[in-house]
């Protein structure tokens, strides 16, 4: 199954740290049905769609406006980590932010994949702010058909 192994987000303020702590608590509490409707549950970032076939996995992540040199992708065993060193976008003198909804600073997300893969075969492309990571299944991880011999 596709699941979240680990999720971290570098906070830019104390409040966000509290919020992330709160979301951690919420995440743990959501295992109980009466907390499933918690509204303060915060979604992981970047949001991903995961596609699977017998031959591998494709992960699409929504991460607009990122410079590709600021993206670190690592695959180890069956874990994929997307790490982004985004600009803090500090306003200069005479500039004011009236709204800041975009994520700033550094963030990372690790996904546990259903297959093991060979990091050398992993490919990534970045088109219109969507990062597509193609992770072929390792040959050694593919199921092997065993011939049954009649005695």
């Amino acid at each position: 199954m596709f699941n979240l192994a680990h999720y971290e987000r570098n906070p830019w303020s104390l409040f966000d740290e509290i919020e992330s702590l709160q979301s951690d608590i919420n995440r743990n509490f959501t295992r109980w049905p009466w907390n499933m409707t918690s509204r303060s549950f915060k979604e992981a970032y970047p949001p991903v769609n995961v596609w699977a076939s017998d031959d591998g996995i494709v992960v699409d992540a929504k991460m607009p406006g990122v410079d590709t040199k600021d993206v670190d992708l690592t695959v180890q065993g069956n874990e994929l980590t997307i790490r982004v060193h985004a600009d803090e976008r500090v306003p200069s003198d005479g500039e004011i932010y009236h709204r800041r909804e975009r994520v700033t600073g550094e963030y990372a997300r690790t996904l546990r994949l259903p297959y093991y893969s060979n990091p050398e075969t992993v490919k990534a492309s970045y088109i219109n702010g969507l990062l597509r990571i193609t992770i072929p299944r390792a040959e050694s991880d593919k199921p092997k058909k065993i011939a049954v011999e009649a005695a």
Binding site: N49, I57, L130, R132
Partner: protein, 129 residues
Amino acid sequence: MKDIAVKQETAAQKTQTEQTITELPNVDILETPNDIQLMVEMPGVANEDANVTVENNVLTIEGNGNIEPPKGEYELLGREYSTCRYRRDFTLSDQVDADKIKAHMKYGLLRLIIPKRAETKTRKIEIAA
């Protein structure tokens, strides 16, 4: 006859678009001494599929992208987003010049620069001793 066919097709497309879910894009609004800058996140939208219009002082930002499945026999295993279509409206103040809006898009991030009218720009007033 040909015109009617075209019209029907566009109407059908419109209904289809209306039925598709749209997402509210994340926006940063930065005010500088000379302008208001909007950074609108529309991942999955190609530059030619982004639309910015101003009508009656309402700025409308739209982006129509599609979720493209990878080639091959892939099935969706986990879904955290279901659309690459976005729409958001903003009411513009009289203090900005809507005729001079500049738009630029890169990596699914739309940047709008809305200049302030000359009379509303921040001016530093020298204080006489």
